[in-house]
Symmetry: none
Subunit: 229 residues, 4 copies
DNA sequence: GATGAATGAGAGTTCATTCAT
DNA sequence: CATGAATGAACTCTCATTCAT
């Protein structure tokens, strides 16, 4: 009980502070001070700061991974030989992401952490996530491939990353963007509200017409976005 | 010359290290060591680490700001009373963004910095950028507003940031993504090629149908992306 | 034991160096180097250099404060309704001052510190001393008031500060003065000896005839000390 | 002119800052910044910080020394073979001290500096003052000796410094003390008024009965101020 | 099983001084 | 005659980690 208590208090405090300030800007003293546990407890229970960071992620990603595998299993059972539509895949992904922290933790924190994983990952975290949770994403990407047969593979690859950029950027800069939005439009947007706004944009992005890549890299005039200029 | 040399060497080194590791993870000793200047030189020339960070941004954003104002002036002169089409605005923005670092600096670094500005901004940087460069963005957003009268203001704000996320994420992680793309699809993509791929996606994202936000934050059933579920 | 040892060694060394050189001229490296403890130990045990300075004072002033309150309690019990004579008050004050460091620490160091408290106090120390030990001095001053009913309040205020100036100046410049005295008169004076020398001077100062303040601030000729010139 | 200007501005600023904060706590940057001169100017014009400190003192002590010598010359001419009375000597000293800063500088600053010279002197300053201005003080002390033949030499030395402490302490802390006095007693005291108050106190201090120094430093019973205890 | 004490490394910053121009 | 640039040394303080108990 005392141990569980300590470990949990550390994790609860760490995830909040990491989400607020980032990894480097959050010291173990910050965490143990706010959690009211001994400074040495982090190294005692987790071994190192890096291991603590990974543990914070694992507490979200382990259940996410499990649920998402289950959800895909169900989808495959339902659709059988049929192709699962893109929107259903996206919806399933989104629902799982939202479900995981709904129980005990904060969705906002989870999203900020995902953002940090990309923008602040010092290597060890990126590697850890890829090793631990790579398969579930691979499985998802394969289903997306079947759902978008009209897209060339390279095009699909880039579009998925365009969309990933939207999601990661939005959530990693969430606090800043929300501040501006609140100040300028008087609207407080919840994470759920943001996810709803993203839906049509993401779908439209994936289904946009193919680009005209003829003569690429040979034009001397820098006519970038519009064909005609 | 001596001064220019030292100041420039510090800025050149700092922007690369900041882009690679982030602000907190880059010490002044890292910077001055690599730049082969005295440790105290940073504080002598810039006053503090915070001021150095701002100076790194200013070196990109000052010329960007000037060029973009000029470009918009020209557009307004050309179109007169007419509304400037969205695609022309996006094309102008893209051209300016590409021009600035093209001369001496790296597009990738610029994009990484922009990403950091959102995800790592400790307040002082966010405030600085808003104060120094707010007007040019405001002007751009106002023109986008006229070009997309069908979008509610808040919706336009978020979609612009969704798109910004796509651009920054893609270009700031360019090297890694390019490696994967080359390995998996045998295609070497140039920046110009990538910009062409982005064009239809960005336009589609801005013109996607409006989301259904009814009952937001009150729904008990978590039906997120699809209306029907 | 280990802790007591480190804390005590830091305090012992700090008080000597502070007394010798002053606060600003004594670095934490000086202290920890001489005390043979780790540089970080000061911040670990005390939090900051300012807090260390305060702790050095507290180690003298806490017992002083307690003893002086007790001594005054005894005096009041002894004299009952009667007024406590001025000489007894001064004697009690002096005895308490001498007793405190007699046990373990150096009287000279204590005196130098008191001198520094006035001449070098950067604000935080003056505030700290006033907050922590103000009441005991207030109590003393009130008794002096009762012992010198013939003095107007303002006159008593100034004379107490005249005397304070004598004490503080002498002890804060102790080393310098002692050097000169030793060189010129071949006499090594102890602090105890000095206190004995001060006694008749202080008593005489407090009991000096009242000044003639008539026509003050109106004479044009600067005839300062003697009325006749 | 430019040079004179710079040197003067440095001296003017330095004396104020030194008096306010002490020597170690005042950096050359503080001084040159406030004086609006180049940082290197101090080293250029004075050679070092130590030399600047000495120059600050010289600007007060040089005219003081000259005037005081003149004043004593006049006294000796007037009194001839006769002994000059103590009160006349003190009056002369006081008048000279007040005259020097009266012209351009601040009495308070002068007094604070004198206080610092004793409490903060790191050696070089003490030596400098002794070398440069020792003779004038020696001459004064010799006259005091003739005026107080009943005092042992060492006793006279200490009493003069007791009195010096009163004067320096009072005038260097003048503003703070005056505030308290004004608040508590509703009296605004001028410098002239204070000097009048000091006169009987100083005279009484010099003429107080001799202390009983028997058994000094060997007494086991701590009977300090009163003979009887 | 848990913790107070301790530590080496390194952080940003400030310092008086020097030097080339 | 004067100064902007530069520097080596030292500053206080915080860091993640280790260890004896």
């Amino acid at each position: 009980m005392a141990q569980t208590d300590t470990v949990t208090r550390i994790l609860d405090t760490a995830e909040v502070l990491f989400a607020e300030r980032g990894f480097a800007e959050t010291s173990l003293r910050n965490i143990t001070g706010k959690a009211k546990v001994n400074l040495a407890a982090v190294n005692y229970h987790f071994g190192s700061k890096k291991a603590l960071i990974q543990a914070v992620f694992a507490r979200y990603l382990d259940p996410f991974s499990e649920r998402f595998h289950n959800a895909i299993d169900e989808l495959e059972a339902t659709y059988g030989e049929e192709v699962i539509p893109l929107e259903v895949l996206l919806e399933t992904m989104a629902r799982t992401v939202l479900e995981v922290p709904a129980e005990r933790h904060s969705l906002k924190v989870f999203m900020r952490l995902l953002g940090l994983a990309y923008s602040q990952a010092q290597g060890h975290l990126r590697r850890y996530i890829q090793e631990q949770y790579g398969t579930v994403f691979t499985r998802f990407v394969e289903l997306v491939r079947q759902a978008t047969p009209e897209l060339p593979d390279a095009e699909r690859f880039w579009r998925l990353h365009f969309v990933l950029g939207t999601v990661i950027f939005t959530f990693s800069g969430l606090d800043a963007l929300r501040d501006i939005s609140e100040k300028d439009y008087g609207e407080h947007v919840s994470v759920r509200n943001l996810v709803k706004r993203m839906r049509p944009v993401v779908v439209a992005a994936m289904q946009a017409p193919l680009p005209d890549l003829d003569g690429q890299d040979t034009d001397k005039t820098v006519t970038v976005l519009t064909g005609a200029g």
